[in-house]
Amino acid sequence: MNALDRKLLRDFQRLWAQALAIALVLACGVAILLTTFGTYISLEDTRSAYYERNRFADVFADANRAPLWLMQEVRQIDGVLAADARISKFAVLDVPGQEETVTARLLSLPDNGNLQLNLPVLREGRLPSPGSDHEVAVNQPFAKANNLRPGDTFRANLNGYQRVLTLTGTLLSPEFIYTIGPGALMPDNEAFGIVWMRQTAISAAYDMQGAFNNVTLKLGRNANIDDVIDRLDDMLAPYGGLGAYGRDVQLSNSFIDSELEQQRTGAIILPPIFYAISAFLVSMVIGRIIALERSEIGLLKAIGYSNTEVCIHYLLLAILIALAGTLIGWAAGTWLARALARLYAQFFDFPYLIYNLSYTAYALSGLLAIASAGLGAARSAMRAARLPPAVAMAPPAPPRFKRRFLDQILTALHLSQPVMMILRSLMRWPVRSAFTVLGFALAAAVLVASGFFTSALDEMIDTTFNRSNRQDAILLFDPGVPETALASVTRLPGVLRAEGQQFQSAVLRNGHLEKEAAIEARRPGADLARIISTDGQAIDPPGHGLLLSRRLAAQLAVRPGDVIEVEFLGGINETHKVPVTGVVTQYVGLGAYMDIETLSRLLRQAPQITVANLKVDPKALPELHHVLKTTPNLSGLVLLDKMQRSFEATIRENVVIMTTIYLTVAVLITIGVAYNGARIQLSERARELASLRILGFSRGEVSFILLGETMLLALIAQPLGWLFGAGIAAALAEGSSSDLYAIPLVLKPAGFATASLVVLAAALISSLAVRRRLDRLDLVQVMKTRE
């Protein structure tokens, strides 16, 4: 190792605190890039491999009951490579040891074993024997959650008949990577499962011989998916077709899509911020070092080192910092990516994970770190290289302070000299001051944005569970039952109050714009499941016409008073013109509401219900479950209290993780900016400050000048940080808005205050760490040292 390299290493050692402060900020960028980019790639790779190997379908459709011979025509549709007809039903299970009612989706397996699409992966045991009427396989997570093993039995209510089913094996399917039950907000493997049964058994139980109610298609590479969907809709329409859809709307797939989108956004938006701040910090620190080492640079040149060698020497210092940041970032990123993979394992059921935390992700994040540090140092290093040796050997000229317009104002204000020193210094280095403010502002913005998540979720949970959905349980009926059945529901044990609702699938159309939606029909004055607008009002659907959620109205470009076409799906394929009578702003779902009388009149039938909302005496719950397990026509049960608890627990856990990460990030940015800023000021002002001490200034007064500038900049940054934070929050709210939900933009004063307090406190503590150096300053020594 040559002497210049040894100098490099020693300089790095000497600067460790400043280097670490920068390296940590850089590490945030590296870690986040590695995590988001790595997770994105591994999730995407895993999903496409899984889809490819297990032939995940491209188009899905449900109907009431279609004849099997229709499949010949379906297979003839232009672009269709393969098609599977299945029977799909919802049923209530009675699982041993499980007091609560369990809901399952039953799916048929062909008896001859030639399933073509959505091939399940056998995880344990075997498939049900062809022709067997009692053997079933279930999805692996459901078996795990309920402690079911091959050979175990459980009871099921199939079409009103109690049956004992024997488990032969557990499966995973590309259709159910994300498995969520009807009416649920998130996966609950204990309460909802997928049950595969042989076709003969299921068609016998549901009287579906020679028929199917679910079809999936695989399309050729050049097929036009919209045309195929249109053709399929036309074919299924006479058989109660419920509207075909592509992968983008398939529940499991669309959840993974939204997760991928989040990772992608994360990879694009966040890391550049950290890389940019690091570049600024590196430029500030290297700039100062070069100013301090002016004479050493002169010396190096005097003894024959070339401009390039000098330039590289200082660039290498920046690169060492970048390497430190990269290593810390890689470690943190690898750990974070593992944690994220564990989190995904909770929600996503893959048979394997192609976990290429690829070399590309490592290389890219590291190269960007080195590039940003290098860029930050480049200007200073090049200045050092260009510094003529004779000039470098001479002491630098004192910074040129000039009287400007602002100075006249300052003079007029009769400020004290220390305050004047602070303000003049800010104006003397406006770019540096501006970047410092920007750094602090970004730290505050990150905190404001993270606080927004908590407030928004509180608001959503309060609206969804406390004001809108006040029922304890929801009973699901498939097919629907007459509204008069509500009387028998009321007589169930422990039921204090019951209200009915009908969900009717329909296509809403305005000109060329159309959207499939479930129209929710109810009686006025329903008190258990209410429609709550964002201003907290409970609203009843109008006596005639449709009440639409604002996002649905926007998608259809309609306003109250407009008339839209409503095409009912599932049996009664009629189209009616219905006026839009109102619009309500809501967070969850794309709601469309109608009075149940109006809907029944349009459907020309006695009022039906598909859902019963219950208020239940908690003491009677076990008895209620016992009865429900044998209730005919019941296809599912949702317990609101349990759902709210699991929703809150999961979301809270995620919010705590997110908040911790954001807080760490904000504090690291603040430390990086404040500590380096104060260190550089101390170094620039050591003589000045020592002179003041000699003139009789106290330690406190001298510290005031040192800390004053940093803290003043931190203060100035706060309003800017609030503004950025609100902007980021708005972008996050906007970006996360989907058909499933919209995150409300809730910004509370407390959130802004907390953000500012954290940033100011971190800035103060970082500056105080530098102040300790000021206290130790040897006055005589400093005055003797040549600048």
Binding site: L4, R10, I303, Y305, N307
Partner: protein, 234 residues
Amino acid sequence: MNTVFRTQDLSKVYDTGDLKVRALDGVDLELFSGELAVLLGPSGSGKSTLLNILGGLDHATAGKVWFRDLELTSLNDRSLTRYRRDHVGFVFQFYNLVASLTARENVQLVTDVAPNPMPAEEALAQVGLEHRLDHFPAEMSGGEQQRVAIARAIAKRPEVLLCDEPTGALDSKTGIQVLEVLRDVNDRLGTSTAVITHNAGIRKMAHRVVYFLDGRIDRVEENTTRIAPAEISW
């Protein structure tokens, strides 16, 4: 005697916007191989400017400079760097040691890049610092630091040694030690040496003394008898 340096009508003007400072104003000078020359004059008289130009640290505004047959005033930055690396040793008033490197490593800074250097240990032994090899600058006295600087300058076996106020920051005792080292190097290695000083006492140890005044050479004296550094009255 061979000429090492020759200048012809050399001028240097520092232009700082409103103010033009004429640091050198038509200097014609020859320095000879193996001689120890002292450049004497008040501060601002142009000695350091001349030394910087001779050492290839600075460019002249007008006039010409030759190092042997090499015209320095025609060289670009890259060639000047080459010239400094191969031929010149510098000693400065404030030592200019790299604080983060030990004595040995400071010398190695030069031996790493010079074409035919002596080992760093040998250079330090030449200045009597063989027992301080692994000390950092902060652990040494001013005189020792300056001797490290001299060791660093001679380690490349330079043809010329340019010293700018080498004793300016030292007390008389350590200053004399440093001068003894310079004289010793000049005597034993035959290195042509130019020493800038405003301490008139030092002139008596030189072969020749060049007096500067207002950017010009006032006069040149030759010492018929030289005295040893120890005899110099400070």
